[in-house]
């Protein structure tokens, strides 16, 4: 079963991830998040002070982890429809849960590349001081952030697949990451409804945890944040999987996704 999952993960990653070629990978996974970190870090420093710059750097690093990963996962699902392979998935005997999760799995390690690029930009280019950070806790937050981002993107991927539009869903999700998670705008400044929406967004809780971990808090102190992030991830994966099954049933009933 594990081998089957491995084959599906590797093959779907190679087959369906549009940015898996050197020019696109470097531009999207490495350069773009680094540019965001540099731009917002410099803006914070220029407009206010070093603390604001650090807050923006941490926020945009989290954003970089979730954003590119989401793009890859959404592509994995929409490309099944674009390429006409969906009928062969739905007529197969394979486990639907395995099929669904395998389309996101290898994008989690890809997010580590974006994370490394963001942190290198922050320290080497901007000279940010990440001195007191508890790195075990920081990395635990990013790992959880990547997992919840993947689950959220699997959900969004279903929508993108059903309306046959990568751009609409991807850029919509990116706006949510920017506005709702506290990456740039402190959540305390958001209107009530948006603050509430931020509670159920991936990244939000792990980002809060990571801010504490950068100040030196250990795993024990941020366990609550990681736990909440895990709950959000679980919620999205359950909803996403249910959507995937609904799409399959809808397809069998209507034939709507044949083209």
């Amino acid at each position: 079963m594990l081998r089957n999952f491995y084959i599906q993960s590797v093959c779907s990653y190679k087959a369906l991830f549009n940015w898996l070629n050197w020019p696109a990978f470097v531009a999207v996974i490495i350069v773009t998040p680094s540019v965001y970190v540099a731009m917002f870090g410099l803006m914070g420093r220029f407009a206010r002070d070093e603390a604001t710059a650090a807050a923006f750097i941490i926020g945009m690093t989290a954003n970089g982890v979730a954003q590119n990963l989401s793009g890859g996962v959404i592509q994995s699902l929409t490309n099944e429809r674009y390429g006409g392979t969906l009928p062969f998935l739905f007529a197969s005997r394979g486990s639907r849960l395995m099929m669904f999760l395998s389309r996101g799995m290898l994008h989690v390690p890809t997010a580590a590349m974006s994370l490394a690029a963001c942190l290198l930009t922050a320290t080497l280019l901007l000279g940010a001081d990440l001195g007191p950070a508890n790195w075990t806790a920081v990395l635990a937050c990013y790992a959880m952030m990547a997992v919840s981002g993947m689950c959220f993107a699997l959900c969004g991927g279903n929508l993108a697949m059903s309306i046959s539009s990568f751009n609409f869903i991807y850029y919509g999700m990116m706006s949510f990451f920017f506005i709702l998670t506290g990456a740039i705008i402190p959540r305390s400044e958001l209107p009530g409804v948006l603050r509430l929406a931020g509670e159920v967004m991936p990244v939000t809780h792990a980002l809060e945890g990571s801010r504490k971990a950068y100040e030196g808090s250990g795993i024990g102190s941020i366990a609550g944040d990681i736990g909440l992030e895990a709950l959000v991830a679980l919620g999205y994966v359950v909803v996403g999987y249910a959507m995937f099954r609904v799409i399959e049933t809808f397809q069998r009933r209507t034939g709507a996704y044949d083209e």
């Binding site: 081998r3 089957n4 084959i7 599906q8 093959c11 779907s12 190679k14 087959a15 369906l16 898996l20 390429g83 006409g84 392979t85 009928p87 062969f88 998935l89 739905f90 007529a91 197969s92 005997r93 394979g94 099929m99 397809q251 069998r252 009933r253 209507t254 034939g255 044949d258």
Partner: protein, 319 residues
């Protein structure tokens, strides 16, 4: 149970709803009845939109019927989908449906994993099938670099990965050059020789004539004729065909021949340097001399009388 495939009063209506609340219904199948014996090659023929692909999609569990019943190997396609999926393989025509950024071999190994084929067996089977469809030498080439014919052959290999008892082939030779189409066609009798049941949909009459033991002509979602190719041809045996090859075809000749008593129809088509004139006549009508009287002797290259072809039978039945 002698039938591999059974459809009883199979119906499918597609409904499109607009945002304004409007509803448009398209009836694709209106009570289709079909019985395909085990181990046979069965052809489903019909014009575009007749319901061939809808039938294949229902039988391969991709689409649910809106009425009636369909069984494959005795399993109901609605209630026993996993048993049906275990017994079938399907080949859809066209460029899509494969992963272009994987190699041919990776595609097969991936679909084998998806269908629970044990990994070692999957590797062996992938190699055997790539050899069988003539792609073994190109097994490590990305599919996006394959020609259309190579993709079609890979589609066939994928359809046979699980060693299915029933294979659905939906226009497998469409758009292929004659040599590749011939190679693809040569695989079908091999499958039948292994005891597999093949349901083939095609537009090509000669293909159906050569490959299929039995045929059904489908039009507007209904079977309008079925039987062996020779039985279907006999259904239009009230027509005889006179075929003439002419060095040149005078203007108005077709109209003059059509106007002769006993002639059902006539058509003239270029045939290399010559023109082939096909005249369909009623069996008791003696019009040969009357037709020849309209053609100058120096214009005539050859003349023969023959039984109608499957294509002529098809056109006669489906109008």
């Amino acid at each position: 149970m002698d039938e591999a495939i059974l459809c009883e009063n199979l119906q499918r209506t597609f409904t499109q709803r607009s945002l304004m609340g409007g509803k448009r219904e398209t009836v694709a199948l209106r009570g289709l009845n079909l019985s395909v014996p085990r181990g046979s090659v069965f052809g489903l023929l019909g014009p575009n939109g007749a319901g061939k692909t809808t039938t294949v999609r229902i039988l391969s569990t991709l689409l649910t019927p809106t009425g009636g019943r369909a069984c494959v190997q005795g399993f109901d396609v609605m209630k026993q989908t996993s048993q049906v999926r275990r017994s079938i393989g399907f080949v859809l025509g066209g460029d899509r449906g494969l992963y272009g950024r994987l190699t041919g071999k990776e595609n097969l190994e991936y679909f084998a994993a998806l269908n629970h084929v044990e990994p070692r067996l999957a590797k062996r089977r992938a190699d055997e099938l790539l050899e069988k469809v003539g792609l073994f030498e190109r097994r490590d080439t990305l599919v996006e670099q394959y020609s259309r014919g190579m993709k079609q052959r890979l589609h066939i290999a994928r359809g046979l990965l699980t060693d299915p008892e029933v294979v659905f082939m939906d226009e497998p030779t469409i758009g292929l050059d004659p040599q590749v189409a011939q190679e693809v066609r040569s695989i079908i009798p091999q499958l039948a020789a292994q005891g597999k049941t093949v349901l083939l949909t095609t537009h090509y009459m000669f293909e159906a004539d050569v490959l299929c033991e039995r045929l059904a002509l489908i039009d507007h979602g209904e079977i309008v004729a079925s039987g062996s190719p020779s039985e279907i041809k006999q259904r239009v045996s009230q027509i005889r065909v006179i075929e003439l090859q002419l060095r040149e075809s005078p203007a108005g000749l077709v109209d003059s021949i059509t106007a002769l008593p006993g002639v059902v129809g006539a058509s003239a088509l270029p045939d290399g340097m010559l023109t082939r004139l096909t005249v369909q006549v009623r069996p008791n009508a003696d019009v040969r001399d009357a037709v020849l009287a309209l053609i100058a002797e120096e214009q005539l290259e050859s003349v023969l009388e023959r039984e109608p072809t499957l294509e002529e039978a098809y056109l006669s039945i489906l109008g």
